[in-house]
Amino acid sequence: MVDNVAGLARTGLRDWLVQRVSAVILALYTLFLLGFLLLNPDLQFADWQGLFAQGWFRMFTLLSVLSLAGHAWVGVWGVSTDYIHPYWLRLLFQVVVILALVVFVAWAVEILWGN
């Protein structure tokens, strides 16, 4: 067994599960949005705002943003461990990605529930 002292890697099983579940959520969200756009060809800003005014859709959106962050992290972690060999550069890259993802999630919350 390969132990990961850094803890950033966690277990492979958990990462794999995160990637699969988040992919399903993202697929559902994408299909829903596509369907919504197709069913509303004359979409006005008010309709769009109306959609986002509903609590369930905000939750659905937040869930999708969290899924996107989790999905991206698992993928980017994999790619960075494959291709960025100096450990300090890899760590720097991973920290920047984590910070960016946290900011994106917080930003999404602000957009969804802010004024």
């Binding site: 390969v2 990961n4 966690r10 492979g12 099983l13 494959d82 291709y83």
Partner: protein, 231 residues
């Protein structure tokens, strides 16, 4: 028949080079290995491994026109000329087409490719039902030629941490064996981020396996079993 073959002798050469060869014989139903033997008769410095010459020993795995395969079961008539031969990718070259398989075997060892069963051995043998025996089909046939693992980018980048398709096929062969008692332990050993989970399912292994086996499917079964035990 025209060939372009990777030549490298670390003791003499600064760098690897490609050397052109010519054979003035009809390909007929000749296999690539037959052609290589004829070339070696002309140039004895050309080095490659071979033994059984019928796809059973797994010695003559090499990269043939960009695709890994066994020279002994690859018909010359199926190859575009010049036939470009290189050693299996991703492993250190000992000489010409001969690679150092140590890393590959180390990963094979990690799969613990033997039955673990603490109960006293019965007088004759440990019996299996035909159904349980059937689960080993498509797994036990592996000849460890290394064509699959050396065609896998995950194995190229992390040969020390990712076990590779060949070793994982063997790992599953013992996980699924009804006579083995260490199933849980075997699964627990593989839960880290690399050993199994570096497989992203690109299926190069399935495409090149000379025995027509499906390591990707075995890997997926390992993941499913792990999930079932952990959820």
């Amino acid at each position: 028949m025209r060939f372009s073959i990777y030549r490298y002798d670390p003791e003499q050469d600064q760098a690897p080079r490609m050397q052109d060869y010519h054979l003035d014989v009809e390909a007929g139903d000749m296999m690539l290995l037959d052609a290589l033997m004829l070339l070696k008769a002309e140039d004895e410095s050309l080095t490659f491994r071979r033994s059984c010459r019928e796809g059973v020993c797994g010695s003559d795995g090499m990269n043939i026109n960009g695709v890994n395969g066994l020279a002994c079961v690859t018909p010359m008539s199926s190859l575009r000329e010049p036939v470009v031969l290189r050693p299996l990718p991703g492993l250190p070259v000992i000489r010409d087409l001969v690679v150092d398989m140590s890393q590959f075997y180390k990963q094979y060892e990690k799969a613990r490719p033997y039955l673990i069963n603490e109960t006293p051995a019965p007088r004759t043998e440990r019996l299996q039902s035909p159904e349980d025996r059937e689960k080993l089909d498509g797994l036990y046939e592996c000849i460890l030629c290394g064509c699959c693992s050396t065609s896998c980018p995950s194995f190229w980048w992390n040969p020390d941490k990712f076990m590779g398709p060949a070793a994982l096929l063997q790992a599953y062969r013992f996980i699924v064996d009804s006579r083995d008692q260490a199933t849980e332990e075997r699964l627990a050993d593989l839960q880290d981020a690399y050993s199994v989970f570096r497989c992203h399912g690109i299926m190069n292994c399935v495409a090149v396996c000379p025995k027509g086996l499906n390591p990707t499917q075995a890997i997926a079964q390992i993941k499913t079993l792990m999930l079932r035990k952990s959820a």
